[in-house]
Amino acid sequence: MASVLDPRLHTDTEVASQWRLMWWSFRRHTLAMVGLVIVLLLYLIGFFAEFVAPFDPQSASAKHVYHPPQMIHFIDSTEEGWRIKPWVQAYTFERDKFTLQTTFKPDEGKRVYLSFLGKGTPYELLGLFPAERRLLVPDEPNERFFLFGADRLGRDMLSRTVFGTRVSMSIGLVGVTLSLLLGVLLGGISGYYGGAVDMVIQRVVEFVLSLPTIPIWLALTASLPATWPPLTRYFAITLILSLVGWTELARVVRGRFLALRSEDFVVAARLDGCSEKRVIFRHMLPSLMSHVIASVTLAIPVMILAETSLSFLGLGLLPPTISWGVLLKEAQNIRSIAQAPWLFVPGAFVLVAVLALNFLGDGLRDAADPYAQERG
């Protein structure tokens, strides 16, 4: 009787549902919390890309080819005193008359002043709502600034990376959703019916897992007509990625399903008179959900890496679509990165996103079964 009547014990753990318990155990995982914050931030950036990006990612400028990154300063101190005002050092542009090589030199006297939430070039948020406020814009509408530098056409790398975030992060999400549908469907069928169906699906999973993914992906994307519009291609690529990605999820779902099916509490539910549907949705699914969510989180970075790799090879997304992989294709040439190492910036984003998602997924996986320890 001790634990029910014992006032010393916290009663909130006793009445906590599985999601509350998961959250509590997840919260203790510092790295996972960091991962969660970063992932949320990246999705916010992607969602509000037009607002976050200072400029149109496609607008080229011959004057700013390979413009180096500028450091942002927040305190503007002049002879008159100082004030809080963001600014960057302006650069002047020189072209050697003989070699035609361009060089940028800091222009000591000149500062480009910036303001938060100012009016910039008009845009349509998500292509729907017209707006002109942007997160950070130059005070003078004609000025440009390059926090991440510029590419070979003088386009702002910051704006491009921000738009790349939208495509790359969303392709992970969309791809995983597709994989999940396939995985849950086939894994569920396999685990539920068992027998010959299970046998066939398991062999297919084993087969797909034994294939080297990238050559297969390459061959599939190579057969996509190059004339397709960007959006169609985007969905075709996610579909191709999830054709391979579903196997892992199917395995998780099937394994859990099989383990759950023989659990006493599921037998008890059946004996209580629950219909098959109720047994699955009311009694089994809640136990599956947390594990599936964790696996899904761990599958997103795989998708992101795959998309990046394919686009990098020129067989995934194609310009004018911007993704991290498309941006990194610019860094393929050793001469261009030697000249403009800031072309690696999207690579850093890939790294951070994949790490954050992995931390998050690990944390979720550890928290997925808050009942595991006490049973031990």
């Binding site: 599985q18 006493d264 037998v267 539910a269 004996l271």
Partner: protein, 583 residues
């Protein structure tokens, strides 16, 4: 009263004095063993007894300094008097094991040579990827300089000593090719490899069936006599204690509660906890008075369930064209009747088919042949074996089940109100406020406060969870309850409580029970009649007392004689009946 025949007390070979073992936790050190002292004498058996979590296992491990990290000994002495053992050189030689470096050469030379240990789970305690011979030979070669060939010969000899058939080929086998009892024998052979003077056995028979348990205890006893070892036997079973102990240490919450000779502890216990432990066991060793009294008021009625010629086969064939494996006959032509208001016990060892029988009756498994006739209140008879759809649903409302594992049988993701309310809800009995009122009522019936409703199963102890499971079972006001090992996951002191609750419910609700258990004492307490199952067959059915006192079938005799009696004056070891039919 004749005195217990005890061996002549030999010299103390191992003395434990004021042992303290602590595990650092976030809330400060946790004392798993708290100031424990005792001594082991050559040729004698010391039983350390206690319920789960009493620190008895950690005590044993502390002696050899193999406590799981981060636990460590923080005070006390563990003195090995080597000069008093066969290994001694004659000169005074006392080693304090607690002082030795846990990873050092000195203690390693003692482990497995002077002091050997065997563990509870013989499957996981032996490496699955090394042969038995490899694992035994390793100890020999570790402590003595012998050749591989010689070590192998000695391993075979050891296997022969522990009565493993065909030791010459067994030596090259892997553990998973053996049965549980054989694995434990191999484990014992391994511990004997270097002729230790002290043998520590940590719940060596808990994972085994009763008949196997008796054989293993026999073996340990015989080897103890042959080798003159001091044995420290850790167990939670007072019956095993009574059968084997010369002296006893009772532990609770890491502390030593009481120690003394078998006689002193069993016949003149001082401490309340010891008395409680003994009482719990003694209570179970006879029929429940409450039940007997009730039967005079309300005699047992006519048949409710009649099982006729029930057969259940599991198809274990697999591989190409299903040429491998075989068809397992889990139930082989079972005839059994359950009468109204009766408690029918089904007893048998693991693999005897008793659980399958219970599950067939609820159609968790579909039987292969035979019929199970259920007589409803109105007098209508339905065959459970062929029922389907609504018919089956109706039967499942009348026949309910209580599961063995109170942890696995409650969905951890649903709160108590949802768990108990589920059968009421899906059968359309009650919903909304009426449902909550009914759940509160049910909780009250099983002795839990209504405030338990909002809580999740993880907030409850094993005994409480079993009560929740019982509340769920009686929610639909059934007539028959199949209780599958409903008390075996509980500590002894809780078993009688749960059994009494079931008897109370029987009076209130007019229930009939099919009570499945491997534990004869529980059956004796609770059941009016008992069916003994062996290899899928019912070998004997009869009144419980009749079967227990005058068994007819050879297997029943073997089973009963293997059950350890919690009375040291009636040790049944030597007069045991062995049943080897069809092995």
């Amino acid at each position: 009263m004749e005195p217990v025949a005890a061996a002549e007390p030999g010299p103390a070979v191992l003395e434990v004095k004021g042992l303290v073992t602590e595990f650092p936790t976030r809330h400060g050190p946790f004392r798993a063993v708290d100031d424990v002292s005792f001594e082991l004498r050559a040729g004698q058996t010391l039983c350390v007894v206690g319920e789960s979590g009493s620190g008895k296992s950690v005590t044993a491990r502390s002696i050899l300094q193999i406590v799981d990290t981060p636990g460590r000994i923080t005070a006390g002495e563990v003195l090995l008097h080597r000069h008093r053992t066969s290994r001694g050189s004659g000169e005074e030689e006392t080693i304090d094991l607690a002082r030795l470096e846990p990873r050092g050469q000195a203690i390693r030379a003692i482990r497995g040579r002077d002091i050997a240990m065997i563990f509870q789970e013989p499957m996981s305690s032996l490496s699955p990827v090394h042969t038995i011979g490899n694992q035994i030979g390793e100890v020999i070669r570790l402590h003595e300089s012998v050749s591989k060939k010689e070590a192998r010969a000695r391993s075979i000899e050891l296997l022969r000593q522990v009565e493993i058939p065909t030791p010459e080929s067994a030596v090259d086998r892997y553990t998973f090719e053996f049965s549980g009892g054989m694995r434990q024998r191999a484990m014992i052979a391994m511990s004997l490899a270097c002729n230790p003077s002290v043998l520590i056995a940590d719940e060596p028979t808990t994972a085994l069936d009763v008949t196997t348990q008796a054989e293993i205890l026999d073996l340990i006893k015989r080897l103890q006599v042959d080798h003159g070892m001091a044995v420290m036997l850790i167990t939670h079973d007072m019956g095993v204690v009574a059968e084997t102990a010369d002296s006893i240490v009772v532990m609770r919450h890491g502390k030593l509660v009481e120690r003394g000779s078998v006689e002193a502890i069993f016949y003149a216990p001082q401490h309340d906890y010891t008395k409680m432990l003994l009482q719990a066991v003694l209570d179970l060793d006879r029929p429940s008075e409450r039940r007997l009294a009730r039967r005079t008021v309300q005699p047992i009625g006519g048949p409710v369930v009649e099982i006729k010629g029930l057969v259940k086969e599991f198809d274990l064939r697999h591989g190409f064209m299903r040429r491998k494996g075989h068809i397992l006959k889990a139930l082989d032509d079972i005839d059994l009747t359950l009468n109204e208001g009766e408690n029918l016990g089904v007893v048998g060892e693991s693999g005897s088919g008793k659980t399958t029988l219970g599950r067939c009756l609820l159609r968790v498994h579909d039987p292969s042949r035979g019929e199970m006739l259920y007589r409803a209140v109105g007098g209508g008879v339905a065959d459970v074996a062929t029922a389907s759809g609504n018919g089956l649903e109706r039967i499942r409302r009348d026949i309910r089940m209580i599961f063995q594992d109170p942890f696995a049988s409650l969905n951890p993701r649903m709160n108590v109100a949802q768990i108990i309310g589920e059968p009421l809800l899906v059968n359309g009995v009650a919903k909304g406020a009426a449902l909550r009122a009914r759940v509160a009522e049910l909780l009250d019936v099983v002795g839990l406060p209504a405030s338990a409703m909002e809580r999740y199963p993880h907030a409850f102890s094993g005994g409480q969870r079993q009560r929740i499971g019982i509340a769920r079972a009686i929610a639909l006001e059934p007539r028959v309850i199949v209780a599958d090992e409903a008390t075996s996951a509980l500590d002894v002191s809780l078993r009688t409580q749960v059994l009494d609750l079931l008897l109370e419910l029987q009076e209130r609700l007019g229930l009939s029970f099919i009570f499945i258990s491997h534990d004869i004492s529980v059956i004796r307490y609770f059941c009016d009649r008992v069916a003994v199952m062996y290899r899928g067959k019912v070998v004997e059915v009869g009144e419980t007392e009749e079967v227990c006192t005058n068994p007819q079938h050879g297997y029943t005799k073997a089973l009963l004689s293997a059950v350890p009696h919690p009375d040291p004056r009636h040790r049944g070891m030597l007069g045991r009946h062995r049943y080897e039919a069809g092995r």
